[in-house]
């Protein structure tokens, strides 16, 4: 397997893995989405809420705030506190606001971290309040898995994409330029009397160039042995931390499989 990072900017990580089956890449993708533990607010104790939003809505909104600093927590399911929640598996955040003026927006940055966990972004609106309205609450964050609720999903977008293959038959090509016009991603260019591909990985396999080419000189296909993984986190973990964590989960799963097969009496 040959791995190359294509880009790592704007919160998006893109890397190619050559000679990796797409199903393997998808396994990583699915683990990223479903099985990497990150913290999210699971329980909210509301002391006072005179805003127009109901307690349930506020709790739901709090749950969706990406949180950082969950590394030192353990999964509640695996904690010895019997799923009750204890300082080992829970981290507390508090919020206490009273709006001084109308149309006052409460942002995630107003939450005070009592433990290790804090909001990954301080500009997420929680509620809009009018003067005199109050909101006092205590939120308990826990680690969780994306398969249980989308709030524990560390990524917003995560996709696998095959490597496109653009074959241009220079014998057939009459350099009419129709394909250059047609390509929505503008990745084809004429250079030295030939059509060349400027950025192969941008091709969306839309095949518009193929349809536009009168002599059928261009052919689009893909190579599913080489694929790219696109990761865009919500901010709880960085992109690389996340991929590494996913690999750990995968390895751990393999270890578990290995040990359980070994423990089978009839094996070997």
């Amino acid at each position: 397997m040959d791995v190359k990072v294509l880009s790592n900017s704007d919160g998006q990580l893109k890397f190619v893995a050559k000679d990796a089956d797409p199903t393997f890449m998808n396994a990583i993708r699915r683990i990223i989405m479903a099985e990497v533990a990150i913290p999210a607010i699971e329980k909210v104790y509301i002391a006072e809420n005179t805003s127009v939003l109901y307690d349930d809505i506020i709790a739901h909104r709090l749950g969706l705030i990406p949180l950082k600093g969950g590394e030192i927590l353990t999964l509640t399911e695996k904690c010895d506190c019997d799923k009750k929640g204890c300082p080992k598996c829970e981290s507390i955040l508090t919020l206490e606001v009273e709006a001084a003026e109308d149309n006052f927006l409460v942002y995630s940055g107003r939450m005070k971290a009592e433990g290790s966990v804090f909001p990954a972004n301080n500009n997420i609106p929680i509620a809009e309040m009018n003067a005199g309205q109050k909101l006092t609450l205590e939120a308990h964050a826990r680690l969780g898995l994306g398969k249980n609720h989308a709030k524990w999903q560390p990524v917003s977008a995560c996709a696998v994409k095959y490597e496109p293959i653009i074959e241009i038959d220079s014998k057939k090509c009459d350099l009419c330029g129709a394909c250059i016009e047609e390509c929505p991603k503008k990745i084809l260019k004429e250079k030295d009397n030939a059509i060349v591909v400027t950025s192969l990985w941008d091709c969306t396999l839309c095949k518009l160039c193929e349809e536009a080419c009168p002599p059928a000189a261009i052919k689009i296909s893909y190579d599913d042995r080489n694929s790219v993984l696109i990761v865009e986190t919500t901010g709880s973990l960085t992109n690389d931390e996340l991929v590494l964590a996913a690999c750990d989960v995968m390895l751990q799963k393999c270890e578990e499989l290995k040990s359980s097969i070994k423990s089978l009496p009839e094996a070997f």
């Binding site: 797409p22 699915r30 127009v52 739901h60 941008d202 969306t204 518009l208």
Partner: protein, 1104 residues
Amino acid sequence: MDDRWVLMESFFKEKGLVRQHLDSFDDFIKNKLQEIVDEQGVIETDLPGYKIKLGKLAVKRPTIHEADGSEKEILPMEARQRNLSYASSMYLTVAPVEDGYEEEPIEVYVGKLPIMVKSGYCILSKMSKEELIKAGEDPADPGGYFIINGSERVVVIQEDLAVNRILVDVMDGTSPVTHVAKVFSATSGFRVPVTVERMKGGDLQVTFPSIPGRISLSILMKALGVASDKELVEFVSNEAEVQKSLIPTLEAGVDINSVKDALDYIGNRVAIGQTSDFRIQRAEQILDKYLLPHLGMTPNDRKKKSLFLGQMGEKILELSIGRRKSDDKDHYANKRLKLAGDLLASLYRVAFKSFCRDMKYQLERAKSRSRRVSIPTLVRADVITERLRHALATGNWVGGKAGVSQLLDRTNYLSTVGHLRRIISPLSRSQPHFEARDLHSTQWGRLCPSETPEGPNCGLVKNLALMAFISVGVDEKPVEELLYELETEQIEGARQKGLSGAKVILNGRLIGIHQKPELLVSEMRKLRRRGRVSHEVNVALYSTETINEIYVNCDAGRVRRPLIIVDGGSTRLAKEHVEKLAAGEWSWNDLVLQGIVEYLDAEEEENSYIALNTEDLDKERSHMEIVPSTILGISASMIPFLEANQSPRNTYGSAMVKQSLGFYAANFSKRLDTRGHLLHYPQKPLVNTRSAKTLELDRRPAGQNFVVAILSHAGYNIEDALIMNKSSVDRGLARSSFFRCYETEERRYPGGQEDKIETPAPSVRGYRTSESYRFLGDDGMIEPESIVGGGDVLVGKTSPPRFLEEYREFESTGPVRRETSVSMRAGEDGIVDLVLVTETSDGNKLVKIRVRNERIPELGDKFASRHGQKGVIGMLVPQYDMPFTEDGVVPDLIINPHAIPSRMTLGQLLEVLGGKAFAVSGKPIDGTAFCGSDEKTMKALLRDAGFKPSGKEIMYDGRTGRVLEAEVFIGIAYYLKLHHMVADKMHARARGPVQILTRQPTEGRAREGGLRFGEMERDCLIAHGAAMLLKERLLDESDRTVINICEDCGLIAYYDRVKDKHVCPICGDKAKTTRVVMSYAFKLLLQELMSLGIAPRLKLEEKV
């Protein structure tokens, strides 16, 4: 095009959406109310020389009478919350007249008049936006409804056949009548049909109520004072051909040659065996009162009536000799709409009559006791109050009409507004009436072609088109005078001179002849455009080879629509006008006053040639549409790219947008509707229509923009199911709150007994478990934010015993009180949202409790796009299993490809494409019907953003990571969450309550009922020979009972508890009885037969 939209926007800025109701109601209070009082004029009494003169009726500001006797002004929100009626006091000035001496007039309180919200008399109509918010109102609320006992009631517009207009028709061959001319003569208060029929013999006969049988037209006209046959013929027509066909009619009346004879002839029909003088008097009375009363009810009006009869005669004869065609009853010129004002007037008239009757009775009674009477104490104000309140609260109107007032639909803002623009046709739903249900070409621009219900009401319930406006009506006197001024020859004179020309018909009545009809019509229109005549006057010229008629209309209830006037191939609307409008210097009304736009009724529209767009303008055109898409109603205006859809889909779509959940009113937190839904994150539609924006429907949205892919995916969206992204749902997609309100009142009973709101003591009859009362505080009420479930008591209440016998049981403790607490509905749960404690107008304590319940989309919840594409969730798929595009975009919703081809909802495909183009480019896509964005524009935007212009994308299966073979059409569409949710419908039962009478399981979810094992299911078991199962289902699991039957006589034995044995009431206790298993319903049958005096004996045999 944009210029014309400015016009439309200014129209709605000035009129709003329910102006017709408000105008009609204001007209009712300002004019009709006083007219009704004046109709009565005086209250005559049987006391000699004593009567009461009625004067001015004054309507005050809306108030309520509190229990302590004070009168206080109220706002609509208080009325809604406290179950009050939003009504004003009416004061009538009366002056008693005794022996010709008129006493000082006094003002008396005569009752309360419900006030239409936001009408001229409503306090809200003068408030600014900020004041409205302070008053607890949603500033966008349209008004136009009443508040009766706290509930919002709409008086729905009623469609009716136009009155006072002659409609002719051909009869089928089997009847003795060949042709018929009918008119409903209506004047304030009543409606009388008059029919002229042409018999097989060619003579004309008249029928009208209160005279049995037919009367020859000639005799009737003679009775009305037509002196000679010559005059009679003149009254009918001066066309030789028509006159000739009048001969059989003249022959029928040949024996009667004087007015007296003719009256006697009629008198003989109604007062047989009376003296001649009396007969004539009766005949005169009937002619004055019951024949064509709209022309007047005095002897002076008889000439008018004979002229009108002549007009009817001419029309029917013209029909019979083929000079004209029969009238089209479904033509919208022949329809009138009755609005709240008209309907209230007819109701008020009846109420006022009975009020006067009651006052007369009270006066006579009081006067007989003492000499001086105080009128204010005699007036029974609740006669009117109750009559109005009751009719509005139940919808039962005078004349036996039901369903006139309906509970205002508050599902979402659009359904509210739509409800206020609904039109009901009184035609019965059981008969087919195919023509009446069909869309008629004259409904263009007046009624929505798409929005009508399916099923029995199809085509009978209609909706106003956006710019349709209903005439309020202007006085016809000045119009008539103007017509004479413009050289219309008065009909009598014209006929005597034998003038030929066009007949001038004003509101259905022939008033004269004009020799240059084109000139008169163009003159009238010119005057109207200059503002010399009211803009409500419409003129139409019908001219064919054989008929030449000018119709002038100025009555109320005509549906009219505004159009831009075109002369000589160019519109009168100039750029500067639009600029003035846009700058706010001008309003819509200025356009009407300046003669730039005018309203046309269906009649005048027949004379016009209307261009749709500027491209169509040429010399021939007389008008231009303002905006073509205003032919649609409110609901249909919500549908983007409507013109691309198959027509019935728009009908379904219009019906469904009214069921979608959204932000129904900005004051929802103050409202206590019995049921209400609120969407948590409502969004404006990405692809919207300009009409919807103009009407500010996107300020109260009811739906969300979903990423939609058309894909089969695992097959869980087969047959209109939907696959929804579970992760999207987790993130709050389509989440809503459901509110239900419970209420109870602490009533007082006669005899000093009263209800008490408290936590009931265990000794109370009907005490539930103490568990049920666990949330109640010291005041007997639940705390807000308590989490409650089915059966939990919200307000504890005890009531005094209902019957006298319950008193007898009392021991030293006194009578046992009943438990009458309010508890949560079975199977529902939620969180107590609001507890409102207030007082009714009777001074009783009123508690209202609102319970909220969060609704997260689940399997089986119903969703729909705006194109009539509905479906229920078939599977919730987590994001990692969903197909994704190479950018990682995951659909929120997957619909099945089979939903598209047969339904041909291309509008939805365009919406999805447009939504995607908008989302990727940030450039708005407009979906307005007939003038929305081009498909090419969307495609170009998509291409520029690096997407395939077709909207299709390569997608990968989230489960395997492999590419999907086909390209997938994916984009953004506005989806609606409809209020049919599984949580409200899910139901199952093992054991449960039974009916008292039959002991069979109850029916329906609300009563925790059983699921019916029906006839066809029974057939199945019989076919299988599954006898045991059959008996178990039908007997053992239903109403199995064991009855002892006397072996001797076969009748039912009873159980004697003292002797501990079964006794036959006939054979005594010696007889042996046997236990027989039977259905309890059968036992009932036996007993019912016995009550009829039949002895149903069961013959018992040993089981083999």
